[in-house]
């Protein structure tokens, strides 16, 4: 529990969260998948978050402090969408530092079988370098892992968010 040498000896932080419990033989890993794709037809960047229904429902139990929440309800879907909006950001990168967040628009959420999809949109192209933060469910479940796939002209760029990750920077060309 020691800080890094030099600058901030006292800057050791504790991340809020449940205690770590790596399941010995995980049956289904708590994993979120987000795809970020430019759609030339609409000239916008489309962001689709896919969460397992069970994980999302459990998260809403925590967030709404109610038991037995049901994602089939519109209000629960909307709350999940708002929760996701506040936990996912794409920002510019300026001089190697995280710059200003891009104005992602929240469209909504819908069920897809055993998954729930949350939609966001950016009505412009992405800059050549971006920073991404994806804390969705990670503040609630310590073993939640989120993967963000960003489609670029030269292939998919993958970012993985786990444990104490915050911003990841990525060049898109």
């Amino acid at each position: 529990m020691t800080g890094p040498s030099g600058r901030a000896a006292g800057a050791v932080c504790l991340l809020a969260g449940l205690c770590l419990s790596m399941s010995a033989s995980a049956h289904r890993l708590p994993m979120g998948m987000t795809t970020v794709t430019y759609n030339p037809v609409t000239d916008s960047v489309e962001i689709v978050h896919r969460l397992h229904r069970h994980d999302a429902e459990q998260a809403m139990v925590e967030v709404m402090a109610e038991s037995g929440v049901d994602l089939l309800q519109l209000t629960v879907q909307a709350r999940l969408a708002l929760y996701t909006e506040s936990h996912f950001q794409i920002a510019t990168v300026v001089d190697g530092e995280v710059g200003t967040p891009l104005p992602l628009q929240l469209l909504g959420a819908e069920m897809d079988g055993d998954y729930v999809l949350i939609y966001q949109e950016l009505p412009e192209r992405l800059p050549p370098e971006i920073a991404v933060r994806d804390d969705v469910l990670r503040d609630l479940f310590p073993d939640q892992v989120n993967q963000v796939n960003i489609t670029t002209t030269s292939g998919i760029k993958t970012l993985v968010f786990k444990l104490d990750d915050s911003w990841h920077k990525v060049r898109l060309e």
Partner: protein, 838 residues
């Protein structure tokens, strides 16, 4: 005596790295861009020998070691400590003489000086990580702190007290991390046995804090515990024909492979405990009441699970701890490991599973769980066990053991051992809110869909592991996919047979639609990667092999051939040790289907599937007769080249050309165009007909008469994985036909192929893989004519009614407190969840 030599450990695999050339393949294409996706795997697979045949079966001199154990173990509940004494009989069936034996000391993984512990990174424990690039200090999460504290407070790892031979003479031993070498007094010749004894002890980990495959689960409210002991005694490492001693250190991920043998285990615990263990209870008269024994007997033929220990008895046991001790004796034959669980909290239910004609005609399916796990466990656990036995046995072999047990050992996750599995999921405690009116008869516990299907799913999966790898003994230390992938495939099949639309991969979430997002990503590793090195374990070791086997069964091989071959693999390797090549070879050998391209693509590479229809061209057969063809050509030319606008307007203006004003200047070129048939053309045609063989002329005449449509269809392989081409062909009348071109269509060109289709009617449209059976990552390029496919978001936006409802709801919620949900607990936004301790 024992010396720890962690610092001198040298793994053979490490030294091999230096000699690996950039191109490991002996066969290389160094000119052009030809890639042989169908190159046979013979060069890459191990050479067949007398132990493993080229057909994937055990060879005529197949051997494996036999290790029998007699163990006495004592659980100190208060000290949370295990003390044991084992006597081991080791039979050397190998052709080799052994001068030493290796044992696994898995508990040593929890020692402070273990390789596992010292090589932990933030990835493993959520601990320290330099976040300088983000302008943060180092951070540490609560779990990592609690784990460190648990490790500070208690010394974990084996205490190996005494290792002696059958005459009581000390055997020198050397501990190397999680392994221990015993130096035999005399070499053990092929076919001979040796016996020795080991006394050992260790402190049991608090599993929820330290994380492992066994430990204790503490219930704060009642100050009670469930103990579940796995990897709890020094076990012989596997000695094999393919790897020698499998003594790669246990790093926590690559589980284990062991030898089969017979076990007799005496477990001494507080008298109020109920014990579940690998094998069959030998002394029910000593540890169960007469009534409980009668219930157990009744359960053998019952149609519903029967309580052997009722919820009330369990509640009583837990309230009145006993100072007395009781010894439970279990025997298990031909198992590769032994695990057990013990608690004064256990409810126990049981029901017989009948297997007429099998070597094991009666199997007792049983569950052990605390009252905290009710009501869901008594409703579903044993039923899920029974269902698993039914489905897996159909796909492989009759369940080979007398018991199959599901124990609720922890809150989440699952782990498997022979005849016993530890499974998670408990209902949530129902806590009424302040405003809730207390309802008479309201349940004190509820369970969500997540818990229900999580429980059924984990039990199917873990009980399934008793077949793979507990009976088909693949090497988990080396290949996670061989048990997790094959087992996840079968648990998916079983879930579909548990109930329709079972939400593991419900129709809308076909695993083959689910896996491409992963397969296109950068953080992929080949399925053929050693367990500890696999990135993204859930996908690469569980889901991707599942998807691959589904594609084999439903599309590439078909159910009949797949099921026959899979059953043959199970039968061949039951109670034996298969390697990946044995699986690959058997699946081909028994089905008669060449699958080398499939294994190469899906198991050896990180390519994904993206196949496109890039072009379609339509033709008719030309008669070659100029009197027939030329007028058609003229029409076609005119269609393609409309008259020049300027010429049309000149005519409309009434402008006469020079030639029109001087018709005497016209010659034959003004009378005939290029499509006018000349005698020369007719002569050429006659000469051509004469030059044709009679059969060629017949073919031409018939083709002209039939007047069929001929299509050239271009396919491009963009993802890299070659796959069959399932194609829906729809003609102008709306009738459609479904054909599948086999993957071999790609054998001479891995990048692009053209397929010719000859049809009576014109094709209106083509759709590649309409049933989503190939895991294609991009369906927008699968249609002719190209279909403007809308993105998910476009589709979502187009449903105006739902969209408006959602927009209103979002607005309503946002208006309260600037968008924060009014009912929510404070959601930590941004970086707010990081509290600075200063």
């Amino acid at each position: 005596m024992g010396v720890s030599r962690f610092s001198r450990l040298l793994l053979p695999a490490v030294s091999m790295l230096f000699v690996l050339p950039v191109f490991a393949d002996a066969i290389r294409q160094t000119k052009g861009e030809f890639y042989d996706a169908f190159r046979q795997l013979d060069v890459d697979l191990p050479t067949p020998n007398v132990y493993r045949t080229a057909s994937g079966a055990p060879g005529d001199r197949y051997w494996q070691q036999q290790v029998d154990y007699k163990i006495k173990v004592d659980l100190d509940q208060d000290a949370r400590r295990i003390t044991g004494s084992e006597s081991i009989n080791y039979t050397n069936n190998s052709p080799d003489t052994l001068r030493y034996l290796w044992l696994q000391l898995d508990q040593n993984r929890f020692r402070e000086d273990s390789i596992a512990r010292r090589s932990e990174t933030a990835f493993d424990v959520g601990g320290r990580r330099n976040l300088a690039e983000q302008g943060e200090g180092d951070v540490l999460n609560y779990g990592a702190v609690a784990r460190q504290q648990a490790m500070d407070d208690t010394a974990y790892g084996y205490e190996v007290k005494r290792v002696v031979d059958s005459r009581g003479k000390a055997i020198p031993f050397t501990i190397v991390d999680t392994m221990m070498r015993l130096d035999l007094a005399a070499p053990l010749a092929s076919g001979k046995s040796t016996s020795f004894s080991i006394d050992f002890a260790f402190n049991i980990i608090n599993e929820a804090r330290v994380s492992g495959r066994g430990g204790y689960d503490h219930f704060d409210d009642s100050n009670t515990d469930i103990f579940f002991l796995a990897q709890w005694f020094p076990r012989l490492a596997a000695y094999t024909d393919y790897a020698g001693w499998q003594h790669k250190a246990f790093l926590g991920r690559g589980e284990f492979t062991l030898e089969f043998g017979d076990y007799e285990v005496e477990i001494t615990v507080p008298a109020d405990h109920v014990v579940s263990a690998t094998g069959v209870l030998q002394n029910p008269g000593k540890v169960l009441s007469a009534e409980q024994r009668a219930r157990l007997k009744q359960a053998e033929t019952a149609a519903q699970p029967v309580f052997v220990v009722t919820p009330e008895e369990a509640a009583q046991n837990e309230k009145t701890p006993s100072k007395e001790r009781a010894t439970w004796v279990f025997k298990a034959e031909n198992v590769r490991d032994f695990a057990w669980a013990s608690s004064n909290k256990f409810i126990w239910d049981a029901m017989g599973h009948q297997q007429p004609g099998a070597r094991q005609p009666l199997v007792m399916a049983m569950s052990f769980y605390p009252n905290e796990a009710e009501p869901i466990w008594s409703k579903y656990s044993t039923q899920a066990v029974l269902h698993t036995l039914e489905v897996y046995s159909r796909f492989s072999f009759d369940y080979p053991y007398p018991t199959a047990q599901s124990v609720n050992a922890w809150a989440r996750g699952g782990m498997e051992y022979p005849m016993i599995t530890f499974n998670g999921y408990r209902p949530e405690v129902f806590e009424p809110g302040e405003d809730d009116v207390a309802v008479e008869g309201a349940p004190d516990k509820t369970y969500s869909r997540r818990v229900k299907y999580g429980l059924v799913g984990v039990i199917i999966h873990e009980i399934g592991h008793i077949y793979f790898p507990m009976t088909v003994n693949s090497d988990e230390r080396q290949w996670t996919w061989m048990d997790e992938g094959i087992n996840s495939f079968l648990d998916y099949v079983s879930a579909l047979e548990w109930e329709e639309n079972y939400p593991s991969y419900a129709p809308h979430t076909n695993v083959l639609d689910y896996i491409p997002d992963e397969m296109v990503a950068e953080n992929q590793v080949p399925v053929m990667t050693q367990s500890d090195s696999v990135l993204n374990l859930g996908y690469n070791a569980y889901t991707k092999p599942t998807a691959a086997l589904i594609i084999l069964r439903e599309t590439v091989m078909g159910r009949e051939l797949f099921d026959f071959a899979f059953k043959e693999y199970s039968r061949r390797w039951m109670f034996k040790r298969p390697t990946p090549s044995d699986f690959f070879r058997t699946m081909e050998d028994a089905s008669g289907v060449d699958l080398d391209w499939f294994w190469r693509g899906w198991f050896y590479s990180t390519d994904h599937v993206d196949i496109a229809i890039t072009d379609v061209r339509e033709y008719k057969v030309a008669s070659l007769n100029p009197d027939v063809d030329y007028p058609l050509d003229r029409t076609e030319f005119a269609d393609k080249h409309p008259e020049t606008l300027a010429q049309i307007r000149n005519r409309e203006e009434g402008r006469k050309t020079w030639m029109q004003r001087h018709p005497d200047l016209a010659d034959q070129y003004n009378r005939d165009d290029r499509f006018t048939v000349s005698n020369q053309n007719r002569n050429d045609y006659q000469e051509l007909l004469e030059s044709l063989e009679p059969w060629e002329r017949t073919a031409l005449e018939r083709a002209v008469a039939e007047d069929k449509y001929i299509y050239f269809i271009d396919f491009a392989n963009l993802g890299g994985l070659v796959m069959p081409l399932p194609l829906k062909i729809t003609d102008a009348s709306g009738d459609s036909e479904f054909v599948t071109f086999p993957a071999e269509i790609w054998r001479r060109d891995f990048h692009a192929v053209t397929k010719i289709l000859i049809r009576d009617t014109a094709i209106a449209s083509l759709e590649l893989d309409p049933r989503h059976e190939t895991a294609d990552a991009n369906y927008s390029n699968n249609n002719y004519p190209q279909r403007i496919t809308k993105s998910r978001i476009q589709l979502y936006k187009s449903d105006e009614e739902d969209r408006n409802l959602m927009a209103e709801m979002l607005l309503k919620l946002r208006e309260v407190k600037g968008g924060v949900d009014p009912d929510a607990k404070a959601i930590p936004l941004e970086q707010a969840e990081i509290e600075d301790r200063e």
